[in-house]
Amino acid sequence: MVRAMKVNVIVMPKPAVLDPQGVAAAEAMRHLGFNDAKSVRVGRCIEIETDGHDEEKLREICSELLSNPVIEDYRIEVSGEH
């Protein structure tokens, strides 16, 4: 049975990696009056529409291509399953 689903791969810089984009975004947020942010980090999200997937293969793709484990962590969120 084919199940349409959306897989989001969220890639974030590791805490130890300097994230100048996050620092710049936090600064701009403060200029706009948002003073409550303790920390801002900028990553990216890869949206994949698929009819099912091989979990192991997806993890391999995540660590080999979509993220670089030296500097980034990733997490997988599956939604839209029906």
Binding site: P13, A16, V17, L18, P20, Q21, A24, L65, L66, N68, V70, I71
Partner: protein, 229 residues
């Protein structure tokens, strides 16, 4: 005659400069090699040039890593032959895990295009052997993602095995945050692998090979490779 392959990826833009610079040395044959090639037999050295391979999509060098030629580059490296990655080439070598660490967005978020001074930290490599320790080389950089990062264990290993070959320094030859153009960890501008046959650097030595370009200090890198052969 030492035969150099300069790999051309879609988006490479320093490939012709590398060939031009290499051909100014006696005893060098240099040719462009398209990234679809899977055989580098017959070449003594491989250069991965600067540029924006695959538009820097995902991460710099992340997609070039899977080009057919990279399997051949890996075999070439494993055979102990010379591999040099310049700028985007350095990023590709890190993405390929042929060198440790990674290159991330510059500290100031700006693309930096300027002359830098890099200090030769070790002569114990085919890339620096005819230079002199502590000598500062004037070589330009041009990159947006040249901030070298490695975890503390990796940095410790790099130091312990004398793999840091070049560091950014000021006019006095001293380490100085203001002279570090991208915020690189430990002021690192260039490193080699444990076997000392794979070298990655952010500065462009091919752009510092003739007086009319403002510096000839890059020549010592290529002279070292030639003297090693």
């Amino acid at each position: 005659m030492m035969r150099f392959a300069v790999i051309r990826f879609p988006g490479s833009n320093c490939d012709e400069d590398c060939v031009h610079a290499l051909r100014s040395f006696d005893g060098v044959a240099a040719e462009l090699v398209w990234h679809k090639t899977s055989d580098l037999a017959g070449f003594d050295a491989v250069v991965l040039p600067g540029g924006f391979s695959y538009g820097d999509y995902l991460r710099c060098g992340a997609i070039a890593r899977f080009s057919p030629v990279m399997q051949a580059v890996r075999r070439h490296a494993e055979a102990g032959k010379i591999v040099v990655g310049i700028c985007n080439g350095f990023q590709i070598l890190c993405e390929s895990r042929l060198l440790p660490g990674a290159l991330v967005r510059n500290r100031d978020l700006r693309f930096v295009c300027q002359d830098t001074l890099v200090r030769v930290e070790s002569l114990r490599s085919p890339f620096t052997r005819v230079s002199s320790t502590g000598c500062s080389l004037k070589i330009p950089v041009a990159h947006g993602e040249g901030c070298y990062f490695a975890d503390p264990d990796t940095l410790r290993e790099l130091r312990r095995h004398d793999q840091i070959l070049l560091r950014y320094v000021n006019a006095e030859g001293a380490l100085d945050a203001a002279a570090n153009p991208n915020g690189s960890l430990d002021h690192i501008a260039g490193i080699c692998n444990r076997n000392r046959n794979v070298f990655g650097l952010m500065p462009h030595p091919e752009r510092a090979c003739e007086a009319r370009l403002g510096s000839t200090d890059g020549r010592v890198i290529f002279e070292s490779i030639l003297s090693h052969a």
